[in-house]
């Protein structure tokens, strides 16, 4: 049940337990227990809303940042990653292959805030040897959801054989 349950919740975290139980043809208490267990094991690490900030008339500035860093003896990249991940400005952080070691997304109220974070917090972090910042200009798709307005889906007839 767990994988099917996770796929449903990944797509819509607001399903009621009762509906999940019906969809999965499982007992409600079992589903509730499974969710609690997945949360406890940090398999479900949190619930999150996809927000199109552009439409909310709220200024927000996001940047993708490549970070070069020198691995440490014994801990490799994990120690540096932990230090970077602790900053609340960092939305997501990945160890990647290619020209940089880390890719992160940083969110701030405006460009100045993001720039300040890079200059004063990120770049001076011990182990970080270089950064490359790319500001996000427009979001087209977030967490699997398209944000485009002009998208138009076809309509089905009311009743068909």
């Amino acid at each position: 049940m767990n994988k099917e349950l996770l796929l449903l919740l990944e797509n819509n975290a607001r399903y009621e337990v009762r509906d999940l139980a019906s969809l999965l043809n499982e007992d409600e208490t079992l589903v509730e227990k499974a969710i609690k267990d997945l949360e406890a094991r940090n398999v479900i690490a949190g619930y999150h809303t996809i927000i199109n900030w552009d439409k909310a008339d709220t200024e927000i500035s996001k940047a993708i940042i490549f970070v070069n860093c020198v691995p440490e003896r014994e801990s490799g990249y994990d120690k540096v990653a932990e230090k970077i991940a602790r900053y609340p400005e960092v939305d997501s952080l990945y160890l990647i292959s290619g020209k940089a070691e880390f890719m992160l997304q940083v969110n701030g109220k405006n460009m100045r805030e993001v720039s300040n974070f890079v200059a004063h917090k990120l770049a001076p972090t011990e182990g970080v040897s270089g950064t490359e910042t790319m500001f996000i200009l427009k979001e087209y798709k977030l967490n699997g959801k398209e944000l485009l307005d002009e998208r138009e889906d076809g309509e089905r007839l009311l009743v068909t054989p």
Partner: protein
């Protein structure tokens, strides 16, 4: 009516589909919620749409060979081997058609002489009886019963066979019941078809929407393989209804005859749609899995809800329909659906639209979002309270 006498009597006597009548009423109303649609609610997966667009962009818009693009026929035969373990030869055994509908028509026109009998297990999809009649065949209805989980049993089949029986229509998983046939179920009827040399026309359009275990085809039985004609298509498995692409898989001597009707009436299936179908059949297995899982979940949901509100419903094993009995209300299928539309603005399809055997039932499609299904259930619940 004009031309009353001039028009072919067979066409004049064809009954308009009971579904059409409902569509006309529902279309005049505002705020109708419908669980009456016989097609998936997914938009065709993007990689398939993109393949159609690319074909048009590249000017791949000429006629194709009558049988359809060789790459598509090969893809279809690979698919049948991969998914169902049945082998066909793309050169000899396959024709690409304009949807499953054309396939049903040209297969029956190829087989039937005037007065030939075709056994039609009902409730059945509305087109079969009409097409049999247009081909001057005689429809012999046999009833699929709820207590048999809408499966065809050898006892029911045996009774319907006569010296004039030419073919039988098999549609499992089926519209409107969602019933399926397993390999063991087929094993019981195969000897009868073999003994009387009855052609098995098996419409497997819902094959991929089989929820408990794997789809079984009667084409698995070598002893009647030569008299088995498989009809399938892209509409339900890949949510490609509007592309109109289907196909026929059959013995080469049947294919060469069927092809004659196809080449003179259709020429070939729509070319860009064929290119989209190539993409679907070669790279669409994941789409099938994803969509089938979503249908299965909605099936679970709606069956539980229908039982909760007092409409006894068994769990169908395929397609995206449930077919509950409404006999507790004392209403006929049409009365039920007309009142439901009138009082609650909810559109369902009356069971008798699928043959007399469907009287006392309604077809409910769950190819809708959970939110739509919830509203429909609450309307149905309030209706049942007033008519319980």
């Amino acid at each position: 009516m004009m031309f009353e006498e001039e028009i072919n009597q067979i066409v004049r006597n064809l009954k308009p589909s009971g579904i059409r009548k409902f569509f006309d009423i529902a279309a005049t109303r505002k705020g109708v919620v419908s669980l009456g649609v016989g097609e998936p609610d997914f938009i065709t997966p993007w990689h398939i749409r993109e393949a159609a667009i690319y074909a048009i962009e590249k000017g791949r818009t000429f006629y194709t060979g009558n049988k359809g693009l060789p790459a598509l026929r090969k893809g279809i035969c690979d698919y049948y081997r991969r998914r169902f373990g049945i082998s066909f030869d793309p050169e000899e055994n396959a024709i690409v058609t304009v949807g499953g509908s054309e396939a049903i028509d040209i297969v029956l026109r190829t087989l039937l002489k005037p007065g030939d009998e075709v056994i039609l297990p009902t409730p059945a999809y509305v087109a079969y009886a009409a097409i049999i009649e247009m081909a001057e065949g005689k429809v012999v209805e046999v009833e699929l019963k709820e207590e048999d989980r809408f499966k065809l049993t050898p006892e029911v089949l045996e009774k319907a066979v006569t010296a004039r029986t030419k073919a039988i229509i098999l549609n499992f998983p089926g519209n409107p019941t969602g019933g399926i046939m397993t390999h063991d179920d087929y094993a019981k009827i195969v000897p009868i078809l073999k003994k009387h040399h009855i052609f098995a026309v098996t419409d497997e359009i819902y094959a991929e929407l089989t929820y408990e275990g794997k789809h079984s085809s009667i084409a698995e039985f070598d002893e009647i393989r030569d008299q088995t004609i498989v009809i399938n298509g892209f509409s339900k498995a890949y949510s490609m209804t509007g592309y109109r692409v289907g196909y026929i898989l059959a013995h080469k001597d049947l294919i060469s005859m069927i092809l004659k009707i196809h080449q003179y009436t259709i020429m070939c299936a729509t070319t860009p749609s064929q290119y989209a179908a190539i993409e679907a059949v070669n790279n669409g297995d994941n789409d099938i899995a994803e969509m089938a899982l979503s249908f299965k979940q909605r099936r679970n949901y709606i069956v539980k809800e229908l039982n909760r509100i007092g409409l006894k419903t068994h769990m169908p094993e395929g397609a995206f329909y449930v077919f509950p009995s409404i006999k507790v209300t004392g209403l006929s299928s049409e009365e039920f659906c007309e009142k439901l539309l009138d009082e609650e603005n909810l559109a369902l399809v009356p069971g008798n639209a699928f043959g007399q055997a469907g009287e006392g039932y309604v077809r409910i499609s769950y190819a809708y979002s959970l939110d739509e299904i919830k509203i429909a259930i609450s309307r149905l619940e309030s209706f049942l309270k007033n008519h319980g």
